[in-house]
Amino acid sequence: MNILKSLLASAAILVPAVAMAEGETIGFSQIGSESGWRAAETTVTKQQAEERGYDLKFADAQQKQENQIKAIRSFVAQGVDAILLAPVVATGWEEVLEEAKDADIPVILLDRNIDAPEDLYMTAVTSDQVHEGMVAGNWLVEAVGDAECPVVELQGTTGSSPAISRKKGFEEAIAAADNISITRSQTGDFTRAQGKVVMESFLKSEGGENICALYAHNDDMAVGAIQAIKEAGLKPGEDIKIVSIDSVPDIHLAMKAGEANATVELTPNMAGPAFDVLEAYWKDGTMPPKWIQTESKLYTSDDDNAAIYESKKDLGY
């Protein structure tokens, strides 16, 4: 027993030393705090870095590109081993990425892509938003079978790329099913309050009994719509099926209560695949493909939603 203890103790002393030797320094330029999902992405990135023994230098850009450019310059000056960049806009990155390239520091883009020559960054880890819409649409096609199903849609902020792509993917998925059609579509600005207001209007103009399903471009709007459906005296999840995207903790609570049916995860773990790529690169110089698509996992009421809620609630959503 004593031997074991002393062994463990010496191991405990040794481990940090080993980790220090391997501990790469990674700079992470985050957009800022714009949504719960982004807060979760930051939390998960920090967790991933800690698990792998990296020293993560975090810079919050407060939604400004010039802050991100400054952060990248300072990372280059500090001689970090790699840079993670969640770009706030798509354009204007060439110059600063050129500087990183000259310093031989690999740059990996997280969750958004940029308009720049591909050789300026190592890879981009993003989700495919059209695919997310398709997963949601396919679930609905399977769930309703042959029954007639008029759908109402809560769109994201008008003109935003997730709203356009998630609409497109869903429409492609239901195109083949003649029994499913979108009868009303309005923007809920990705917010709970507007999701509720617009759903109230849908329930009156269409009549609750004439709506078979709701497709919301994010979970927050779905959570607002669920309240509107309840206040109209209908049962969300039964009378009106609800499918949305993001997989935030509160939608799992709703699914646990049977008030929502399915959600497609936009994983906050973009850093995990990015770190995997870096490790392979550092080991034997393997270059990854220019785009790594994260998994758009479907959760339904059959999953253990209580457990999922517990695992997600402290991520900062």
Binding site: S35, G36, Q155, S185, R192, A193, K204, D220, A232, G316
Partner: protein, 348 residues
């Protein structure tokens, strides 16, 4: 008194009637109100209910604008108040205490604005801009950037519940408007506020304590905004500091302007501002019911608002007056020259 009030708000009543009629044209069930699951249910109720935050903000904003000021911070104050109330109930406080704390936060914000304007003599648009930008940050700090959800039935009732089958927010905004209106018009306060708005220096020389009065109107505006913030948070059972009250200050100012009140201060009518708030909500409802593609939302809203403001402009009103006078049987009085600002006509 009653008759002059009616005359003052007649343009707003006509416009509201037109907007509601347009709603009826796009959706025939618009005026249908039924009793369902213990609450009144219908589009008309929605307009009154969803108009609550704007109506509350417009009540406070009318007073501020009457003093020739403006309060840009009300949207941010809503976010702060919602965050305070949510944090309090999540922390275990009774919901009445949570609402009182939210109101206290709103009062503090109003006091801050009032002191900057009245004591430090900073221009209102600049003074309140500070809190407009910083306030949302304070709200986000309280909720840590996430949506802070709560399940306290007492607090939720304020936003999503009903009293006597009518949604609680409707009771709240009507009650607040009545109390503010009575206090202002049954006392000399309204007259004093108008005096300060028209000429601060001469009203001070006439013995009006302009400083206290200015601080008081910003305080009332802060309180109204806090109440609106509590309602909005209670409605979705969560404080969303990123989005609660976002751009609401502009809707509130628009409601006051549609109400025919001049941004240059002076005479004001709270009733007209409230009608303005309902007109805005009526237009929002029209857009939702019309089923037009979302890309048209803001264009439709802009066109309707422009039309409303043009109809109310002094030039169009004067032309209408001339038209009426020339076709009428007897010319009772000579046509007056075009009034410079709409608020110079009529009185609330």
């Amino acid at each position: 008194m009653m008759k002059s009030t009616l005359k003052r708000v007649m343009p707003q009543i006509i416009i509201l009637a037109l907007v509601l009629a347009a709603n009826f044209l796009v959706f025939r069930g618009f005026f249908h109100v039924e009793f369902q699951h213990g609450r009144l249910f219908g589009n008309l109720i929605d307009v009154l209910n969803r108009g609550a935050p704007t109506a509350l903000l417009a009540t406070g904003m009318t007073l501020v604008i009457a003093t020739r000021g403006i309060d840009l911070s009300v949207g941010a104050v809503m976010a702060i108040a919602g965050a305070v109330a949510a944090s309090a109930v999540v922390g275990g406080a009774h919901w009445t205490l949570a609402v009182l704390l939210a109101l206290a936060a709103g009062a503090a914000c109003g006091l801050w604005n009032g002191v900057l304007v009245a004591i430090f003599r900073i221009q209102p648009i600049v003074a309140t801009l500070v809190l407009m930008v910083a306030g949302r940050g304070i709200g986000q700090l309280l909720t840590e950037g996430a949506i802070l959800t709560f399940n306290d039935p007492g607090l939720i009732r304020l936003g999503a519940g009903t009293i006597a089958a009518v949604p609680t927010p409707i009771w709240i905004w009507i009650a607040v408007a009545c109390v503010v209106g009575l206090v202002i018009r049954r006392s000399a306060l309204g007259l004093l506020i108008e005096a300060v708005g028209i000429n601060q220096t001469s009203s001070r020389l006439a013995g009006i304590n302009a400083r206290v009065l200015l601080i008081a109107v910003y305080l009332v505006s802060g309180l109204c905004a806090a109440l609106a913030g509590v309602i909005v948070a209670a409605d979705i059972k969560g404080a969303d500091a990123n989005n609660a009250g976002l751009w609401m200050e502009l809707d509130a100012i628009l409601a006051v302007v549609i109400g025919g009140n001049s941004l240059l201060g002076g005479r004001f009518s709270i009733t007209a501002s409230l009608l303005g708030a309902l007109i805005i909500q009526g237009v929002n409802s029209l857009i939702l019911l019309s089923g037009m593609p979302v890309e048209f939302n803001l264009v439709i809203k802009a066109l309707i608002i422009i039309a409303i403001l043009v109809i109310q402009s002094p030039r169009v009103r004067h032309s209408l007056y001339l038209l009426r006078a020339s076709t009428g049987p007897v010319l009772r009085e000579r046509p007056k020259p075009a009034p410079r600002t709409p608020q110079e006509e009529g009185q609330s």
